[in-house]
Symmetry: C2
Subunit: 340 residues, 2 copies
């Protein structure tokens, strides 16, 4: 592996000059630039990122922190990751996915080691310990998500409040009056306090009350089986329910089966709306699920931008971006509630 010194020797210039042309840090005459470039080519020079990082205190690597606990990697996650990576790449940074303990234990080892310039946090809980760790460490970071009070933090997030309201608007407009919200039960797991669930649930409760319609909240267990049981539980709690919002991708299938087995047809007897998921995921079901599609790609890009802006010192602004999901209706089948 050729070093800068070797390139400099070969081009007949000094080390510094090579550094300048490599980084564009200073003006170098076209002639020397050409010679240096040629030498780099010939020696197949690659800038040593580690040395650069040590000298400049900047690695140009940012990390997307992903909790090791639970198997939470969904299509949405993947979209966050890919879009943030793409954006980072456009801005001459690298984005890596880093699996870390949700409690934030190993975080400081990583981050204060100087390996990454900043981090993006996802799967944020209401009182996320990682935020404190990061703050204490004085590492630039941005959230995809929000803690309970994020006013002093840079974040981009799904606007769950609006998403729930929009969902209810849509369904109420269709004539529905009895709703259910199905979410994953995270109590007792490391992901307890997961903000999206709590926000969705709070808004759902408040909004159904305000609208004077009936609202039931059901907590669902893992996987397809969990969805099935949720359906049973739901029908026990409100046999007349006509509309369910589900916020747990891997339970949707079970939920549909459970409803089916109970003799209810979707969407004739009951409407099912998948929350903060993707259109492709909604299509995986039969019938296809209408979906409040998460603006994942947009959020991923904005998160990367926000962090890199911070690193560049480009802006003093704390980004506070909230984007609602967008309704995507699965097909033309009527979703109006049947009378039961």
């Amino acid at each position: 592996m050729a070093t800068m010194q070797q390139v400099a020797d070969r081009a007949g210039v000094s080390l510094g000059t090579v550094s300048f042309v490599v980084n564009g840090t200073k003006y170098v005459s076209p002639a020397t630039t050409a010679r240096v470039t040629a030498a780099m080519q010939e020696l197949n020079f690659r800038n040593n990122v580690v040395a650069r990082a040590l000298a400049s205190r900047r690695t140009r690597i940012i990390a997307l922190l992903f909790p090791t606990a639970g198997d939470r990697f969904s299509a949405t996650t993947s979209e966050f990751f890919m879009s943030a990576a793409e954006r980072a790449s456009q801005r001459d940074h690298h984005l890596v996915l880093w699996p870390v303990d949700p409690a934030g234990q190993d975080l400081d080892d990583l981050v204060s080691g100087g390996l990454v310039d900043g981090v993006i946090l996802m799967e944020v809980r209401m009182d996320d310990p990682r935020v404190d760790v990061l703050s204490a460490l004085d590492v630039p970071f941005t959230l995809i998500g929000r803690t309970r009070d994020s006013s002093g933090l840079p974040f981009v997030d799904i606007d769950f409040e609006t998403t729930i309201e929009d969902s209810l608007d849509h369904l109420v407009g269709l004539g529905h009056r009895r709703f259910a919200l199905v979410l994953e039960d995270l109590d007792g797991t490391p992901m307890a306090g997961y903000a999206p669930h709590l926000r969705a649930q709070a808004t759902f409760a408040a909004s159904t009350t305000r609208r004077r319609v009936h609202g039931t909240v059901i907590h669902s267990g893992q996987g397809s089986e969990g969805g099935r049981r949720a359906a049973a539980e739901l029908l026990a709690a409100d046999p007349a329910v006509t509309s369910v919002l589900i916020m747990k991708e891997d339970s949707s299938a079970g939920l549909l089966v459970g409803l089916y087995e109970a003799g209810l047809r979707v969407p004739t007897d009951v409407s099912v709306l998948s929350l903060a998921s993707s259109a492709a995921a909604g299509d995986q079901h039969f019938p296809r699920l209408s979906t409040m599609v998460a603006p994942s790609r947009e959020l991923g890009m904005r998160a990367a931008d926000a962090l890199i802006d911070q690193l560049d010192g480009t802006t003093g602004e704390l980004p506070h971006l909230l984007l609602p999901c967008e309704l995507r209706i699965a097909d033309s089948t009527a979703e109006a509630p049947a009378s039961r």
Copy 2:
């Protein structure tokens, strides 16, 4: 951020000694060790990974390379990643997911920059250009997957040949004689030449011929819609088919719908077996799909082990590990073919 020098000063020892206790590189007397440890605690010392890497030429970071093209992040991928990360962590390494161009263009920048000690490749094609890049770069690497000729490469992979044979054994035992294999059509995409498809297809063709049973291969398009069309195409090609192997998770749902719409019931009229997927994914469908479950976690761990062994110079052996998928039958419903 405290440096080693500061720790040394505070403990009244030399820089070197601190390094020795931090890394356990040399024996240091319990007394000094204690003093050093105390000083580290007090100063909240964190080893600077970048400096360490520069001096030792080892970052203790390994990367799992994931192609930026296509949206190939599945449940199986996630399991590879998580299990490999876990294993790496146990062996005192960090594993990051690195999105890179499947053509291997940006690969050398990353890798020869010295940021990672080695890489794991996944989503390997028959003639994967990344392998050549990596070989030329002289970076330790391991494949999850195989190129056409992997005899000189360290790899772990699903044994697709055995998986297909086992699948056919199972289904033939049930009385099936007319088979179809549904796979994604990757021609013309960056992922063309994806090894699992080609291996599965070759084995399927050879094995159905050898067994003197009927075999049809169908290439499916993207998503649910692709699966649906695949079903139609399949029934046109072989209206009497009773058994389909599908190797494309996101088309399974569409396939089932397509079969259903054609008046075929699963598993009564036609058996559907999902290949190299996960049990949880199989449960997402109705009816639940029997699945040849990919040994993802095992392979992920073994890949990490193989790479780290290589880095440690522990072994000269090239790991060549092939693990078949395991049949997991969805439910007790009969899968024997109906006569049509």
